[in-house]
Symmetry: D2
């Protein structure tokens, strides 16, 4: 395969275009060769912008191109498992945006295929590659806080997505909290066994009318004794709020938000600074680059991806458990949702 990696991108929506740009200009040794989108115009616009040779409405063209080593799947969630399966059978190395799917059976099936075909499979939990969260993980792994006792994750969006998006999202736990479920596992380095979730509609009653929640608080119990919380809101008026705090027997570590500048203004009213970076495109730019570098690195070296199918599956299980907990107002063991939880997949 050599050092150069040839990539095809499937799905040229917002996140697809972001990955296309990084693959085209920021990751050395990558040849982004083709872009597919069922909307051919979108595929073409993305191809022009990133100087990509091929644009197509049919992702199968990418899978048929033997020069292409790897695919980056950014299409809508309901198409993921089909494309993953086709790509695995075609022998492509696979990066797929989160969530793999919102149906556990389909996830299990497609992970079986991926395993059988022996291709590399990475799920798009970009936050693991953020320098702040990465530093927290390093400090925990290095023993700086001792045994972990307590965890808090705060993850609030600056504004809710359109109602059409919410209706198709699978619900806040599978759409938004899923990032935090993965973060919790990543940071603590142990599996969650039980979840208790509370949810409210406080931001916009139309979200409630659409059958979803916009304000949730999830409590996690880990196998290693850690207890923790996740706090989500669809709307923090001051911007994208992404923080964690981990407390242990030897200390605590916390990370705050990233800001567009460090300027502090003092006048007769207050001492103040500008709002944090507004949303994921700004906050996680470098994380997205690092995520794609890690995928390309895994493809190049032929080793396991840093975020696996198992990681993608477990975050969905946690989302399903949170949904059930919230509906029934009781703690729900993950093993209720996935009885084979602890068997390796």
């Amino acid at each position: 395969m050599g050092d150069g990696i040839t990539v095809g991108l499937i799905g040229a929506g917002r996140i697809g275009r972001l990955h296309a740009q990084h693959l085209a200009s920021r990751i050395p040794g990558v040849d982004l060769r083709a872009v597919a989108d069922i909307d051919l115009k979108a595929a073409r616009a993305c191809a022009v912008r990133c100087r990509v040779a091929v644009a197509t409405a049919h992702y199968e063209e990418i899978l048929d191109d033997e020069a292409i080593d790897a695919v980056v799947i950014c299409s809508s969630t309901d198409t993921h498992t089909r494309i993953i399966e086709d790509a695995a059978v075609a022998g492509k190395q696979i990066f797929c945006e989160k969530p793999i799917d919102i149906d556990l059976e389909r996830i299990d099936h497609v992970l079986d295929v991926v395993g059988r075909e022996g291709v590399i499979f990475q799920v798009g939990f970009n936050r693991r590659f953020d320098p702040n969260f990465r530093r927290v993980r390093e400090l925990i792994a290095g023993g700086a806080v001792g045994d972990v006792h307590l965890l808090h994750i705060i993850s609030r969006d600056p504004a809710p997505p359109p109602l059409s998006y919410i209706r198709a999202s699978g619900g806040i736990f599978l759409d938004m909290t899923i990032h935090d479920f993965d973060m919790a596992r990543y940071l603590v380095g142990s599996e969650v066994t039980e979840i208790y979730a509370m949810g409210e509609v406080r931001v916009d009653s139309a979200i409630g009318d659409a059958g979803d929640l916009d304000t949730v608080l999830v409590t996690l119990r880990f196998a290693n004794g850690v207890i923790g919380t996740i706090d989500n809101s669809r709307q923090a008026v001051y911007g994208y709020d992404q923080r964690v705090e981990v407390f242990g027997g030897a200390g605590a570590v916390r990370v705050g938000n990233d800001y567009p500048n460090t300027a502090i203004l003092s006048d007769s009213e207050s001492v103040r600074r500008d709002l944090p970076l507004n949303f994921f495109m700004e906050r996680y730019t470098e994380a997205y680059v690092a995520e794609m570098e890690a995928f390309i690195g895994a493809v190049r070296a032929g080793h396991t991806a840093p975020v696996t199918g198992r990681d993608g599956r477990l975050s969905v299980i946690m989302g399903l458990a949170a949904q059930r907990s919230c509906e029934q107002n009781r703690p729900v063991a993950l093993s209720e949702v996935a009885p084979d939880l602890l068997t390796s997949r």
Copy 2:
């Protein structure tokens, strides 16, 4: 009664000596006239240090002294209701340290007596008088964060108390979390209706052997739709950790710890500062003064105390609900613990 208020102090332990010192020197117009402690030596030492005329082993002497307007009760928790009842019957205005008691029936009885006798009754939730938490309450009440959606309280001690103390404490929820239960109600301005509590022994297995927990996470559901958490640990190695964060529709406010100085040292290793103030005697010095000023002010003006018997009762109910939730691993409605919860008392 005039402007001068004459006070007797009952219980000359650590917190009693603190109040004695403030009453003797930092609160204008107060004449601290007598100190009682069942350990006469302790009463005398306190009296000498604060230039108080009378020291006695019998609190009844204070109640019999007609010149004394008000009593400050700092004796052990199991003596509270008896002394409160005697003091109320003697017509004294009453300040009593938290908790009133750990038995709800005894609390209800004594609050009935207090109500019947018409004396002022204040419970010692000192943190309400801390400038940080007070500012949070002001901002919430002033609408700065809009409708409150989420609340987080972190309250961690620098080191666990002696096991003997823990055994007599009534358990972490009634001894330690009780402060945070009151803080939650104070900040949000609404009543908690349901509690889900998780607890672990992570700091010291001897605490578990003594039948208590040292690491707890409590989830609160309020009548007005707010959801929140309380995080407690008996041991934060970096010092006394006392923070809150409140998130609402128009913004968020958070308060951090207080530090002994603002010095920031940068060297070849890190950018760092000294640890926060170590414990409540340092952190809440000014809050204790303000608390006692507020009590004396209420006595002088003849109006209701800023922290009432009802406040003291509700925090105990919350502690009992948290205990039950933790034992049974399910959310517990406060009305299970106190069926007459919403009747005014």
Copy 3:
């Protein structure tokens, strides 16, 4: 003399009343016995408030009272040397507010008297007792920043004093910068040899009309090679601004302002906090207490005061050099102002 120290206070203006209150209630073992002020009403009001037995218009009464061990001189600057001399001859231990005087000859004379009489003499540079600056000194002395290379002092008042005050103040360098001259020497632990000062009238032209400056920048050259700056303004609209930064071969340390609370509010406009403590009465409360404790401690132990007459003299010499530098727009060696600078006094 025993452990109890009997004190008389001379001058019941703003700073005198502050010291009176601390002597009366916050410093154990002190008997504040008499207050003198040429305005007898002021003396009486202060005496009543602090429960002091004697109020007089004549400071000589205090000096004649053999029961009085020590005097605290807070009268107007032009009366300092006369009262110091009388008090020294009367054998009283002496605390005197800064500056000793604005005339170097009178200072030299009175320090000779003080030295001859062998009484303890402390000058009121309260900032040395502030926990922030004290921590900086400790870190420097402990080697945390290595050899000091650079120093920056920022010292800005929230609002200018009345013009009547400015006219009698001796000028900004002797009235305001004098605190920073002392701080510079205290922190660096070496003597300044040369000063270059720039001054402007930017806050209020009436200050210029009164012959003074309101915005100054002073550059210091120390005997040990350190170079540093002092930045003063008579008006920082955001409050009292008192910071230092020290840079050395092994690191740097800086201290910031003190705030009334730690609350941080994030809304759709900004992330902000309340203004710093407004002025010296709030910011330096504990420093004033510690300063007086240190004086009483020196009197009790019979050892040298922590801030000496030499310290008071040198800060005045620095002020005079800064004045000359500013007038002539050139660096001025301190030895120009005081040829005997380096002889011990």
Copy 4:
């Protein structure tokens, strides 16, 4: 000329390679066509890395290529004026790294040529494009601090350059402080009229032996009444220290350092964070991109560059004045160094 801009880069050293990379991948619409370096190997390595067609040892080849619109000059300072003159005569738009030269006569000559030929000329003061300093300028320009009274610039490198570099650098004022001279003018929006500079050798005596200083403090007097300081050290052991503070009649604004992450670790020793970004390649990455975007934007639009030859000339004049001030220990008017200072050039 169209939207596409074709660029040749001259000088493939550290800063040249940085610009090459940005021109090749991060600035849309740019075709980096050729790289020249007297060391042909260096030119070739840079060309390969950035996929540039032409590598040459002779910059004249770039000037002779009619397809090239603009040149980016990153060669050694002593070659700047010759290449600028040749490029201007060849009709190329010019970006040149700072300083233009260290000889004022040569600068004046080459700026005359540039003016006569009517080409765009931008000097590489990258810090103007840093989001922190840019925000300070915006706030000042928008009136947020009112009339500016005082300015402080701190600019310290993490470690001194090699002695060979120092010997050829023109001295600290022209090599290092020159950035801060430009920053001072940029932020305040007024010209400096007089400078007083103090310098020491504190970091490494070998720097002194090489005839240079390593620790300097420069005082600036501006035409509009602002007074300010610049603090430079060749070695801050905690990393690259780049801060400014501006104080005015309506408030103050300050910017701090940028950090690799926001993690704060609290343990039994301290509350701490990682060191700031170590040096200009990390700290100013985005500023370098924005600087080059601004140059390309000026070329595309045919308007004046955001940092002009006049800016480059004035910063050198300030450096020469600082040198003289330091040698003679007196304030030096800029008009002493450049009598025609205020005539437009």
